[in-house]
Symmetry: C2
Subunit: 718 residues, 2 copies
């Protein structure tokens, strides 16, 4: 505050008082304080009286005339250069609260609780009479807040240059982070202190099919831990990223201060806004317990309830896929030896077959047979459609038509065959990043799915986005994903997107967007490997906003089985692969390995056959990011429970406390654990299976070898 | 050529001989010489033995690794940095010729003659074993040539950094030019010597809704004249711009040398090529007579014959429009007083009407009545659909849905009413440049047209293109125009595009693309004026590749008629407006003024009622760019002829020589000429109409006042 005469002091004090406001969480443990300092909005956050977010600035900068010339609102001289980050006075404040229980269509629990106190502060920029609202919601597990732009005389259209929301932490913290990027999250998670990020950053990423790094930036959700005697976990994220770019965070590693960094479009613009509009919610989940963070449903609560009237077609599905054999290089997506094909012109029946096309009638029938015999509901087939010969790396806009099968894929026969055995084929729509082309064909593609009885599609966005210059996380492309999701809903189709933006809780609103990949999945075990701690981190980061299609279940972890001398291997034990089905929530859950590998381990495969894909309840038994996760879940509509536990590169002992079970009830537990001589490098396929009767008082000690795990299925004894 | 040892001289000479090749035009007057100098391709052009294009380089530069990272072909180390402009040896040459007569679906003549000799030179870049073909076609009116890229092992995908085709003229020349731009041609034509272009260039343009100027660049078709005793006219252009950006020309004003400058995309790339592929044709039309240039059909001849099997729906149409009254500001496109609307959400019936929405039931019926009573076939209605409240300047992607009428526009009733009177309504699809949105809605939009019996649409692209960063003339957007044209053909719909790329003869291939605006049309008379020489230049430039929707026929040229004190006026006499119907070929021809203005001049209006829109024959009686054009045309399927003559800011006398008429036949001529006291500024509505019997021996002197003109209709006397 500038120097003022004493005579004005009283007036200023009252203004200061009026400009400040506090909000408490329902349980009273959190306190958020809003304040205007010289017209600039600030907030801070306290937990149990301790400051955990120091005074942090809020606001947005807008693109000015001369930068990009297409928003006449900005070109208007009266508004030139007037950012939405200063010159404000508070003109209104409104408190609200909610305590509701809602039921996700698919979810980790039957009921999600949405309980918060709300403060909406209306700010007026007097210079040009523009109003914005900053809305805070304080839950018992942390804070969400966003900007709202009501439709008004002087604020109808604007273009964002940057959102400058700050999160200023008081201390250095341990962080599990990914290098910031506009196009991919498929990097190895780095574990360092905040202060160490700048030094590590240049070595924190490898190559990707599409990448545009944000120097010294990190991705969200970002998991943080204040170490020491009284640890505190903080998770920074965002919710409801709709008609807005996704954010990275810039870090001031000296002051432990973060600031949002939005994804730009081809011209550097970061959001074209027409009022009324709202930004995504910025989220700060806080707890002394990692388990509470992992259990938070804040991102879902901050999304709107669905407006879909028919959700009957949305259902959990376990599926196999003609997929892993292409990932490891045993067979191919492409049908022919050609390397330059033209969709709609090339006659694929006249090309020379390459002899290793996986999606052929014979092989697909074998997969159908195996999947049907083992109780699966779906079979994904990749490489079924023409165009894979030159699908990648050429910025080819008309790369696929999504409706024309290869000559050796009889779509009608195979669907008939599958349906007769209770299997639905799962469609594959790889776009190669050519979103414009997918939009052109999406009606025909979904009509084909309806015709043949597919009810789910895996979409893919490998490579740079077309429109060229757009990014996987820019506003246009995010709107594209929702155009597809909404169109899929018209056709009653579930979507599982790969290489899309990560979900930020929108499955509450768009429940047919079942899952996304949007992080380093199992496929990277064949592309350079996932670290043994990888799966213990993802649930704290990528998973916070919705399921990931991680595609677990690899039994044949060493690839020299196929290719003598091949040094690649999946960096877990077989038992840990089983545990992932419980630790990693995904209602469209895959068993990713080849049938022949499951056939050699039918006893262990039994767990995958038994495990549920959707849940009535979930208990995080114990968790520490980067170290271990132990999760228990109750299968949807039954009294069966499943438990999964995994560890990082360290072997560990854990005691499963079954107190989550119904009191007095006996259960038959089948335990799938690492073998005594198991080792994720030397002996990954060593496992042991044993049964035991347990009840709510049972405590079962289990040993996890390095990068090992265990899975338990529990059925009530009648 | 570098210094070489004498011992190698003979070998080099023979290589030099082999590397050179000549081609002559069918009439022997033109000679094109191709040569390789140190592996770089060159050509020159002679006319009657005189060099008219000096040795000029050919070739393309490609984007290298590091500039744009999505063409793996380029990222391949073996190919890095290897442009397609050097290191060539000639490996084959092939001569061909053609002399065909073909019939355009709509055209200025019944028969177009396509007569040329062809040389195709195959060049091999030995370093990487890549072959390209340069194909030359020499006509009796000049040269066309292009690059061809056969599909081959080492050339499958590449991205163009720039096409560097040179046209090196021997002399300074008079030029009629527009400032180079990636988005608009709506500038006033400048008339200077080539050497004067750099000095004039900075003052050669005004503002536009979308503009990206090419510094010191000029647009094509570019009309040039070597002045003096033996004048020579040269027209530089391009034909068949398909899946490729449109070009401007860069000028070296000291050496009178041009070079192509393609339109980039958002990332600066100038064409994503998958082989086999061809570039557009570069065209050099040459004649000592301006009339021959104006009569050239070279650009059409260089396009492929249509593959359409059904062209029955394509027909000439004269139409009126609910349009000019909005252009001058008398009424509005928008229905309401709102300034921020959301398509699909805003309930327009609840908004406050602005009271001056033109496309309302009452007014449209009046237009239908007048158009029907006067023999028109069509009525364009703009502002019929929701969204005009904030359609422009906000980079609003979902700006229109193309299917929802305003509350006061009863689409069924009005179409029924029109059809009952023999009128078809003409659809208006303004996109506001949001091409992605139009593609999403185009099926529904065309289905609506089919449902209500519309068979033609006027499309519009006012403002910057979405995908953001693309340009009106970039490859992506040009592909968009053709996607729309092809889809329109599926629905049997004719297209008249505004603010699109200029046509380059493609109506031969896509005959439902009837016309485009793509230059400064009549609307600019209300936006700052068109110079009096404007209409004498456009046929030599914009028109070379296809019809322009200039929208002539303004009788009430002074706008103070509507708005006392308004200084705006259409800078021609009324008689010149009539002449434009003959001078300016447009088979979808508009009578643009308000019915009330025609009603006050029904005698002059008779010419517009009588004049044809499509032709069996055309004779350019006399023409000089920037000065005057006198054209005679024979109406399609009749023995009626029409003559039109216009002049620039100078009054002129002209004698119409009727020797084009059938020998021995008598015709009743109705002459619409400037009144004796006519003046385009002081007395534009002064005209005289008189009849005269004429035959092929008649010579009729006519006086044209400054910016005046005359029109003659000729009917055989039976």
């Amino acid at each position: 505050m500038k120097f003022v005469k004493t005579s004005a002091l009283l007036a200023l004090l009252s203004v200061a008082t009026f400009n400040a406001q506090s909000l408490k969480s329902p349980d009273g443990k959190f306190e958020m304080n809003f304040n205007l300092k010289d017209g600039v909005p600030y907030y801070n956050l306290k937990y149990n009286g301790d400051v955990i977010v120091e005074d942090s600035k809020l606001g947005l900068r807008l693109l000015k005339d001369g930068d990009i010339q297409f928003a006449s609102e900005i070109e208007n001289k009266n508004n030139q250069g007037k950012n939405l980050d200063n010159g404000f006075v508070k003109v209104a404040e409104k408190f609200d609260s909610k305590n509701e229980t809602w039921q996700p269509i698919l979810g980790e629990k039957k009921n999600y609780i949405n309980h918060y106190n709300e403060l909406a502060v209306t700010l007026n920029q007097s210079e040009n009479d523009r109003q914005i609202i900053i809305k805070f919601r304080l839950f018992n597990d942390g804070l969400g807040f966003r900007y709202e732009f009501p439709q008004q005389k002087n604020l109808n259209y604007f273009i964002i240059k940057e959102e400058d929301t700050e999160i200023d932490l008081p201390w250095d913290m341990k962080a599990w982070w990914l290098a910031g990027d506009y196009d991919t999250e498929e990097y190895q998670t780095q574990t360092t202190k905040l202060s160490e990020i700048p030094a590590r950053w240049p070595k924190s990423f490898d190559g990707n099919a599409s990448q545009n790094l944000v120097k010294n930036g990190v991705q969200i959700p970002l998991m943080l831990k204040k170490e020491g005697k009284n640890p505190l976990y903080i998770n920074l994220g965002e919710a409801a990223v709709l008609n807005y770019p996704a954010a990275n965070l810039e870090l001031d590693a000296t002051n432990f201060k973060f600031k949002t960094h939005l994804t730009p479009d081809a011209q550097g613009a970061k959001g074209y806004i027409q009022t009324p509009a709202t930004t995504p919610w910025r989220t700060i989940i806080v707890s002394p317990k990692a388990e509470v963070v992992l259990d938070s449903k804040m991102l879902f609560n901050l999304n709107e309830p669905t407006k879909y009237t028919d959700t009957s077609y949305i259902h959990p599905t376990k599926y196999m896929g003609v997929w892993w054999e292409m990932i490891i290089g045993k067979s191919q997506w492409a049908y022919s030896t050609a390397n330059n094909v033209h969709i709609g012109k090339t006659d694929f029946s006249k090309l020379t077959p390459n002899g290793s096309h996986a999606a052929n009638n014979t092989k697909v029938k074998e997969y159908i047979d195996f999947a049907a015999a083992n109780g699966f509901q779906g079979l994904l087939i990749e490489g079924w459609n023409t165009g894979w010969e030159d699908w990648f790396g050429h910025s080819k806009e008309f790369v696929f038509d999504f409706i024309t099968p290869y000559p050796d894929f009889d779509i009608k026969m195979l669907n008939d065959y599958a349906h007769a055995k209770g299997i639905k084929l799962i469609m594959h729509h790889e776009t190669s990043g050519s979103a414009t082309n997918y939009e052109r064909w999406s009606d025909k593609a979904f009509q084909l799915m309806n015709k043949y009885g597919y009810d789910a599609t895996k979409t893919g966005y490998v490579g740079n986005i077309i429109p060229r210059g757009e990014h996987h996380y820019s506003q246009w492309t995010i709107n594209h994903y929702y155009r597809i999701i909404e169109k899929a809903h018209e056709y009653k189709i579930m979507v599982n997107s790969h290489e899309s933006v990560r979900p930020t809780g929108e499955s509450r609103t768009y429940p047919n967007w079942i899952a996304a990949e949007a992080a380093r999945g199992t496929e990277f075990e064949a592309f350079g490997g996932n670290n043994p701690d990888h799966q213990t981190i993802l649930p704290f980061t990528r998973w916070m906003g919705g399921p990931m299609d991680y595609t677990p279940g690899i039994f044949q972890t060493k690839l020299d089985y196929y290719f003598p001398g091949d040094k690649r291997f999946v960096q877990t034990t077989l038992a840990k692969q089983l545990a992932l089905y419980v630790v990693m929530y995904q209602p469209l859950q895959m068993a990713a390995d080849l049938p022949e590998n499951y056939a050699r381990h039918m006893d262990a495969f039994q767990f995958i056959k038994d495990v549920a894909a959707d849940w009535d309840d979930t208990k995080i038994l114990s968790a520490e990011p980067g170290d271990y996760i132990h999760t228990a879940r109750k299968a949807k509509g039954t009294d069966n429970w499943f438990v999964g536990g995994i560890t990082d590169e360290n072997s560990r002992d854990f005691t499963v406390d079954f107190s989550f079970l119904d009191k007095g009830k006996k259960y038959e537990a089948t335990i799938y654990a690492d073998g005594k001589d198991a080792d994720y490098i030397k002996n990954p396929q060593s496992y042991q299976i044993y049964k035991k009767t347990v009840d709510s008082k049972t405590k079962l000690p289990i040993h996890l070898v390095r990068s090992g795990g265990y899975a338990i299925s529990l059925k009530p004894i009648k």
